[in-house]
């Protein structure tokens, strides 16, 4: 992941319509393929092919094109943290002094209990999803992060449910956005 020091400049991109990357035009079939692979990366070509009435070969070609245009970039597996025992998942809202932000993000990403780490702006500066097996372990993880230079505050919220992405809600074709967003 590329890390830039120009957080403010990057955040401003979000406010305006200055998209940095050229948008790749997708048709209906591309959207079906992406959604199927987001739901299950190991789904067979045959299954997708049946869904859109094309040959498995044609689907393979399209997936290859989507990879070539870097719309699809690799894959990953999310395991249930419970496999490691009676664990629970916690969201940590971390507030930092801005000058050390990159170092702190790197430290948190490498911490073995951390499953996800996102930097941004708002109620906190870094949001980390952490899996621990006991309250003691949570306390230890929180303390090690809190003791990092530049960390100002760590707040924890316990997540009751498993992390599961709801990719079916993703409006890839942009149909649901208002008129202004349409090309």
């Amino acid at each position: 992941m590329t890390k830039s020091n120009f957080y403010l400049a990057k955040d401003l991109h979000f406010a305006g319509d200055m998209t940095q990357k050229a948008e790749v035009k997708l048709d209906e079939i591309d959207v079906i393929i992406i959604k199927a692979l987001l739901k299950d990366a190991r789904v067979g070509l045959k299954g997708i092919a049946e869904k859109c009435g094309l040959s498995p070969n044609a689907i393979h070609k399209r997936i290859h094109n989507l990879e070539a245009s870097e719309v699809i970039v690799g894959s990953s597996t999310l395991f249930n943290p419970k496999i490691l025992g009676d664990g629970f998942t916690v969201a940590m809202e971390i507030t930092v002094y801005n000058e050390n932000k990159n170092d702190i993000v790197d430290f948190i990403r490498r911490h073995p209990d951390v499953l996800m780490c996102i930097e941004g702006i708002g109620v906190c500066d870094i949001l980390a999803i952490v899996t621990v097996s006991s309250v003691n372990e949570l306390d230890q993880a929180k303390e090690t992060i809190r003791r990092q230079t530049g960390v100002r505050k760590v707040e924890t919220v316990i997540l009751i449910e498993d992390i599961q992405f709801l990719f079916e809600n993703l409006d890839i074709s942009g149909e649901g956005s208002n008129e202004r967003n349409r090309p």
Partner: protein, 155 residues
């Protein structure tokens, strides 16, 4: 946890599409064994999701928003949120808020519409926002190597 399961998991973390043949070759078992172990892990709920990563910026998205929501009727609000456009993750929580959601946004207008939509759900008291950019493939860029380390730690 069996040694072979841990090995399969470590291979799958950063490449959900790796052929079972290759895992089998690496650990000296048959591809059929790998497939069986994988299916077992899946039915037992050890595998939450096997997914490709998508550069959302390339398909018109610009930001990732987390909303921390305080509300009265938690179950009803969660049911609503799970069906909202572009909402990618909903979890009930205890602590400073009742529900945390994650949503992808195309632009500022899109984000404001989402926040307004959540705020107007009946029983929602407060919505706090955390915003992030999408400068890397999702979701692999937010998943840390932590799980792999954890698997090693507990072995």
């Amino acid at each position: 946890m069996k040694e072979i399961d841990r090995n399969i998991m470590n291979e799958l973390i950063n490449d959900a599409q790796i052929p079972f043949r290759r895992i089998a070759l690496k650990f000296g078992v048959s591809p059929e064994t790998v497939r069986k172990r994988y299916e077992k892990m899946k039915t037992e709920g050890m595998i939450n999701q096997c997914m490709i990563s998508v550069d959302l910026e390339k398909i018109g998205y610009n930001g990732l928003a987390f909303l921390m929501i305080a509300c009265k009727d938690i179950a009803a609000t969660i049911a609503h949120l799970k069906k909202m456009r572009n909402v990618l993750f909903v979890a009930k929580t205890t602590g400073g808020c009742d529900i945390v959601i994650m949503a992808a946004s195309r632009d500022m207008a899109d984000l404001l519409k989402l926040v307004e939509g959540v705020k107007t759900l009946s029983g929602v008291d407060r919505v706090d926002i955390f915003l992030s950019t999408l400068d890397a493939p999702f979701p692999s860029s937010i998943i840390t190597p932590g799980m792999a380390l954890l698997l090693r730690k507990k072995s």
